[in-house]
Symmetry: D4
Subunit: 240 residues, 8 copies
C-alpha cells in the first residue's frame, strides 16, 4: 500500500503548539519512515511513539540522526535547527542516566514525572522523554506509591514547587489522589496497564483516577505517556 499517501497535518505545530507525532503501532516500518521523512523535511522535530526497533531501523535509514529509546519505545529525530535543551535532555537521559532527584530545585516550569512502582517506568519514560524532546525540564520521582506513603511525603517540597505533576500508576492507581492533596499545581494522571486479574488491563487504575476525591486532576488514556506530556506542555505553554 506504499502508494497511498498519508495526509500529514503539517500545520499542527503552528495551530496547536507541537507538530504531529507518529503513532507507530499498527503501521509498517516503511509507513513510519516515510511520514518521518516528510515531517522532518517540513522542519519538524520527529517523534514516533510505540515504536519497535524495526521501526527505528527504517527511520534511521532515511534520517541517520534518529535515536531510539527502548524503555519508552520512542524514536526521536531532533529538527535540523535544534540546538537547545529540548533535544539535549533525552540524549543525556540515555547516555548519562536521568537523575531521579536532580541537584537543581524544581521550578515553576518543571514537569515532575512520578510513578507508583518500577513497572510503570516505560510509560513514565515515554512522558518524560516526550516533554524533554519538546523543551521542558523534567524531574523524575519514581517508585513512590501509596502503600509506603512516606516515600511521596519525602518529596513534598518538590511536588509543591512543580509546574505540573504527571502521576503514573498501575495497580490501584491511587498516586494522583495522594499527590493532588499535597500540591496546588495541576496533576496529569496516567493509568498504566500494570497489574493482573481484576485490573482488567488498566481499567481499575483508570477508574480510580477518574473518581479521585482530590481536585485538580486531568486523566489521559491508559499507558498514554505521550498524551500526558502533551497536556503538561500545553499547561505550561511550551511551544516547540
Amino acid at each position: 500500500m506504499a502508494q497511498v499517501d498519508t495526509n500529514i497535518d503539517f500545520d499542527r505545530a503552528r495551530r496547536c503548539g507541537q507538530p504531529e507525532a507518529i503513532f507507530a503501532q499498527g503501521k509498517t516500518p516503511e509507513q513510519v519512515a516515510r511520514i518521518a521523512r516528510d515531517l522532518y523535511a517540513a522542519g519538524n522535530t520527529v517523534l514516533a511513539t510505540r515504536a519497535t526497533p524495526e521501526h527505528h531501523a527504517a527511520v534511521a535509514a532515511v534520517l541517520p540522526t534518529a535515536r531510539y529509546h527502548d524503555t519508552a519505545r520512542l524514536i526521536v529525530v531532533a529538527r535540523q535547527t535544534d540546538t537547545g535543551a529540548g533535544t539535549h535532555s533525552p540524549e543525556s537521559a540515555e547516555s548519562a542516566a536521568p537523575t531521579k532527584t536532580g541537584a537543581e530545585p524544581a521550578a515553576a516550569r518543571t514537569i515532575v514525572v512520578a510513578t507508583a512502582g518500577t513497572s510503570d517506568l516505560p510509560v513514565a519514560e515515554e512522558a518524560a522523554l516526550t516533554a524533554e524532546t519538546y523543551g521542558a525540564p523534567v524531574m523524575r520521582l519514581y517508585d513512590i506509591g501509596v502503600a509506603g506513603v512516606h516515600r511521596a511525603l519525602a518529596h513534598t517540597d518538590r511536588l509543591e514547587a512543580a509546574g505540573v505533576v504527571i502521576a503514573v500508576a498501575g495497580m490501584e492507581g491511587a498516586l494522583p489522589s495522594l499527590i493532588a492533596g499535597l500540591t496546588a499545581c495541576p496533576v496529569v494522571a496516567v493509568p498504566t496497564s500494570v497489574g493482573y486479574g481484576a485490573h482488567f488491563q488498566g481499567l481499575a487504575a483508570l477508574l480510580t483516577m477518574l473518581n479521585s476525591c482530590a481536585a485538580g486532576i486531568g486523566v489521559v488514556n491508559i499507558d498514554n505517556g505521550y498524551g500526558a506530556a502533551m497536556l503538561a506542555l500545553k499547561i505550561l505553554g511550551v511551544r516547540s
Copy 2:
C-alpha cells in the same frame, strides 16, 4: 406467601461463631418479624440488616426490645440472657453518640472502623454496630481519606495498635491501601457505592481495593458493612 416457612439455620452460631442474621431487603415486614421471633425464641441475638422503619415496626410488635439504628439501617434485639458489652455498646452508640476517638487506647482486640468521607457513614455504622452487637470494642476514625493524607497519619498510633481495621471508602477507594501501609494488622476493605459517573455504583472503589499494592487486605462486597464486621469478628475470634 405467609404459609411458606423459612428454613432457618438455627445451628449457625455453634458452627460458625455468630447466629444467622436477617437480610431484610426484599423481604416483607411480616417475613422479617416472623424470622426474628423464631431466632429470638431459639436464644439468639437478632440482627436485621438493610431494614426500613416498616421492618422495625413489625419486629417491635412481636419483640418490644427491638431497637432501630436509622443511619445503619439495622434492627437489633439483644438476646434474652445478654448482659454484657455486646448489647451495651450499640445502645450507648445511639444515646450518647459513638465517640470517634475514645479516651481508651486501641488495644489488640479493638476493631478500628475508618472511613474516607462523611458519605460513607451508613456503611461504616452498619459495620461498627454489628461488631458491637456481637461484643467487640470499636473505635471510629471517620473522614480520613487519602486526599488529605495528614488526617490518617495523625492516627498512626491507633492504626498500629488495632486488632483489625475496617476501612470503608467510596470515590477512588484508596484508603485501605494507605492504612495497610501503616499497620501490621489485617485490613478489611469495604467499597461503598458513594460516587457518581465512572464510579459505576461502587465498581471503581471495589477494583481499587482488589488491586491494592499493599499486602494484608481482604475485600468484601460493595456497601457490605455487615460482612466486614463478621469477617473482623472471625479474625479476632469473637464468638457470640
Copy 3:
C-alpha cells in the same frame, strides 16, 4: 448521627489553592449546613455541589447570604472578606444572565466553557459558576457540537485566545477532539450522562474523550463540572 463530627480539611486552601468544597449528594441538609457553617467560620468561601433546594434551605438558615443556582445545583456563600470578581460574577450570572459571547475578547486568563448541546447545560454551569466563584473570568460557548461543525469554527478566534477550554459533551462526546485541534491551550474534557441506550450513562462520551487522537486533553469524571473547573483554576494558577 449529628454527634459525629466531620473531619474538615481546613488547611486545604493553603495547601492546594482552593478550600474544601461540600459534595452534598448523599448528605443530609443538616450535615451540609453544619459543614458550611464551619468552613465559613474559618474564613472560606463555601461551595456545595449536587445540592437540592432542601440543602440550600438548611444552609441559608445558618448563613443567610447563601445563594442557590438551580441549573447547576450549586450553593455558594461568598467568604466574609470577599469583595472582588470571584463572588460578583456568579451573582451577576443569575441576575443579568451569563452573556454567552461577551463583548470583551477572551484573554489568556479566560476559561472558555463550551458545550455540544443544550442538555449539557447543568454540568457546564456547574463548571462555569465554580470557576467564577473562585475568581476566574468565564466565557460561555454553548451548543457548538460536532454535527454542525461550522458552529465551533465560528468561534476559532475565541478558542485560540483562551487560557483553558472546558469542553462539555454527552452523546458521542467528540467536542473536545474538535476543539483541541483548533487551539494550543489545554482542554479539560467533561463527559456528560446526556444520551440513552448504548450511551450507558456517560460511558460512551467518557471513552471517546479518553481516546481522542488530538493532544492536550485532560478528562474528568462524568458530569463532574466542579472538577473540571478546579483543574482549570489550577492550570491558570488561580488561588482563592
Copy 4:
C-alpha cells in the same frame, strides 16, 4: 473433517443481491478452497475475507485466477463471465494504486470510503475492494480525522456528491458524526480496533458511532469493512 460438507447458500445472490462470501478466519485452507471452488463452479464471484496467504495458496491451487490483497486480507476470484468494472477495479487497485482523490468527480453512484487515520487502512481497503469487486465505483479519502477538521472540510464537495459514505475510524471514532453533518447521503460507520487502553479493542469507537448526534448513520461491527461495503451496495441497489 473434510468429509463434512458445508451447506452453501447458492441462492443468496438471487435473493439478496450478492452471493455468499467466505469468512476465512477460523476455517482451514482446505475448507476455504473447497467452498471457493463450489461457489465458483456455481457461477459466483468468490470473495473470502480475513484470509491469510495460506488460505490464498489453497484457493489458488484450485482457482488459478484467485488474487490476494494483503492489506485488506481479501481473496477475490472474478466469476467466469465477468468482464466489467467490478473485477477490473480491484485489480488496478493492486497494480496501479487506488487514486485517493480521483480526477473524476464523485457521482450519485459513487461510494466514498473515508478514514480518520492511516492505521484504519486495512479495514477501509476491505470495504473499498469489496465494493469494487461487486461493481461499484469507489473514491478513497484517507486520513481526514476530526483532530484536524480542515482536512475533511477540504472535501466537502465530494462528500456532498457521494451516493454513500463509508466512514472508517478507530481512536475516538468521531469521523462519521463530522461527515454526516456535511452531507445528505447516508453514512455507513465502521469502528476499527485501532487504539489502545480504554479503547477496548474498538468498543470506544463503536459506542461513539452509535451515539452520534448527527442523523443518517448506520453502524456495522468493529473492523467489518466487508459488511460496510455490502450495506453500501444494497443502499445503491447494486446487484452482482
Copy 5:
C-alpha cells in the same frame, strides 16, 4: 436559564436533507417550546422526540397545530406550507389507525417498519411517524419475531419489494438477521430495551444486530426509532 439562547442549526435541512429535530428528554417544556417556535418560524417542520405531555402542552401554547403521538412520544408541527402526504399520514395514523398490512403493495420507495413483538411498538411508531412526517410512505409489519418464523415468511413478498426495512426488536434481537436473508434491500436495525435480566437494557439485542451473519444491515442506537427513520429517509433520498 431562560436567558441562555440555544444555538439552533437552521441550515440543517439544506445541508443534510431534514431540519434539526428536538431531543426533548432532559430539556424543560419551556426550552422545547422556545426551540420549536424558532424552528417553525424559520419555515421548518417541527419534530420533538422523547416528549412528554408537558412538553406538548408548552409547545401547543405557542404552536396550536402541534400534535402529540403518545405511543411514540413525538410532537409534530407540520410546517406552514405543508399540504402533502408527509403531514397527512401521521395524522391519519392517530385518527384512523395505521393499517398494518395496507391494501396497496409495497413499492420501491416504501419503508417497511417491522417489529419482533408488541412491546417494541413505541420505538417502531417513533420510526414510522418520523418517516411519514418527512413524507415517506410506510408499511407496518408488527409482531413477526423469529420464534414463530412463519409470521415473517408470510410477508416475504412485501419484504422483497420494500425500499428499506426498519427492523425493530428487543429480547434476542434476531429479526434483522432473518429479514436481511429474505430481501435485497438495506435493513436498518433498531435494538430496543425490551427485555430483562441479561438483556442489560438493550445491550443484548444491540450486540446481536452488530454480529449478524447476514449482510446489508446498518445498526442504530438502542430505542432510536427517530435515527432509524432518518437513515431510511437518506437511503431513499427523501428531502423535506
Copy 6:
C-alpha cells in the same frame, strides 16, 4: 394504539407443546386483556407473566375466572375444558399453601423447585405455578443454599428421585452446582437478581451458573422462572 392488532401465534401449542404466554411487562392492561381474551377464545390456557394487579383487573373484566398470584406476579386463566391437575394445583397453592415437602414421594415426573434463600421466592413461585398450570406435579424445597450445606443434603433422596430440578438462586448462585453433584437428573438453573453491590442485578449468579464445574445444568435468563418451567416441561415431555 388499541387499533394495532397483535399477531398472536395461535399455532404455538400444537407446534411447541404449550400455547403462547403473555409477557405483561411493558404492555398496557388493555393490550394484555385483549390478547388474553383472544387466546382463551381459541381454546388455550392463558398465562400472563410479570403482571400487575392492574393487568389482572383488566383481564378479569373480560375473563372472570382469571386468578392472580401476587408473589409470582402471574395471571392464570384455565382453559374452558380443563378439569385436571394442571389448573387444580395452582389454585390450591393459593388457598391451602404449597406444601414445601409433600407427603407423596418425588417421582420421575416431578419437578423439584429449589431455592437458595427466602428472597428467591417470587421467581421460584413463577416457575412452580407455571409448571402446575400446564399440568406437572411440583415439589418445593426452599431455603437450602450452599452456606448451610446440610439443608440441601437433607433432601438428597428427593433430589435423586426428581425428574427435573429447577434450582433458583441469587447472591453467589452456587445452588445448581451443589444439586447437580447430588442427582442424575437435569438441572435448570435460574439466577435471580437478589443481591447488591457486585451482584450487578443478577450477573454474578448468572456467571456462576454458566461456569459450573458440575455437568447437566441448563441456564435460563435472570429471574426467568417462567422460562425455567417451560424448559422443565419440555424435558418431561408434558404437553398441555
Copy 7:
C-alpha cells in the same frame, strides 16, 4: 508437582449418571495421563476435553487404545467392558465420517446437533462425540443458520422428531430461537466464540441465547460442547 495426588470423584457415575471427565486445558500431559489411568483402572470410560496432541501422546503411552479427535480436541478411551454403540459411533465418526443427515429417521432418543455455520464445527463435534461416547445416537445438521432460514426449515421434520436438539452458534447466535420455535423438544443452546469485534469472544451469542423469546431453551457456557452433551444425556436419561 507429580506427588500431589488428585482427588478423583470415582463415585460420580453412580451418583450422576456419567463418570468424571478430564478438563485437560491447564493441566500437564503427565497430570492428564495419570488421572486417565486411574479413571480407567476404576472401570470408567475416559473422556478428556480441550486436549492437545501432547496430552494424547501421554495418555496413549499408558492407555494404548486412547483415540484423539482433533477437530473436537477430545481424547476418548472406551472402558474395558464396552462393546456397544457408545464407543462404536465416535470411532466410525473418524474412520467413515459422521453422516450429517443419516438414512435412519430421527427418533425420540436421538440428539440432533445443529450448527449455524462451518466455523462452529469444533464445538459441535465436541458435543456430538461426547454424546456418542456415552451411548446416545446423534444426527448432525450443520450450517443451517438464520441468515438463510430455508436451510433450517428443510429439516423441520427431523427437528420435530428429535429427543433433544443441541444448537451451536456463534456470530449473532439466533439459531436456538429459530429451532425452539419449530419443535416441542428441549433445546440446549451453545454459544461459540466464533465472531469478531463486538462479539466479545462469545458474549454476544451468549446474551442472545439467554434472551430468547422462544421457550424451552437451556444455555451452557461459551464453547462448552461437552457440557451441552452432558445435559442432553441427562435429559434423555442415558446412563453410561
Copy 8:
C-alpha cells in the same frame, strides 16, 4: 534503564510485619536480581512472585541459595539468619512433597490451603509456599470443589480446627461459601482465572466470592495467591 534506582521500602517488615516482596512480572531479570540483592543485603528474606526461570537464573547469579518453585512461579531466598520452620517448609515441599493431609492435626495456628480443582494448583502453591516461607504451618486440602460436596465434608474436622482457610477456586468459585458455612475461622477467598468462555479470566469466580451468602470471607485479587498468604499471616499475627 539500569541506572534508575528502585525506591525499595526497607522499613516494610518493621512497619507491616513482612518485608517487601518483588512482583517479577513486567520487570527484567536484571531489575529483579538487583532488588533481590539489595533486599537480602538488608537482612530480609527475599520472595519474588510471578517469576520465570530467567528471573531465577539472574537472581541465583548473585544469591546462590535462591530456590525456584516452578508450579508456584516463586523465587525464595531465605534470609541469612534463618534457621527455622519458615524456610524449612518450602524446601521440604519441593524435596519431599507437600503432604496434602498431614499426620499432625490442624491447630489454631495452621493455615489450610484448599482448592476446588487440580488446575488451581499454581495459585494455591503460591499461597502455601509464601505462608511457609514466612514461618506459618500449612495444611493442603486440594480438589474438594462443590460439585462433589462429600469431598469437602470429609475434612470438616480439619476445617473447623484451622486458624485460617485460604480457599482457591476458579470455574464457579463456590468453594469459599461452602467452607465458610462449615467453620468459625476466617476464610480468605482467591478466585483463579481457571475457566473459559463466560468465566472472563476469573471475573465469574471473583463475583461469586464477593457475593457469598456465608459470612467471614475476605476476597483478594484474581490469581493472587501471594496476597492471600499475606492476609492469612496478618490474621494469625505471624511476623517474619
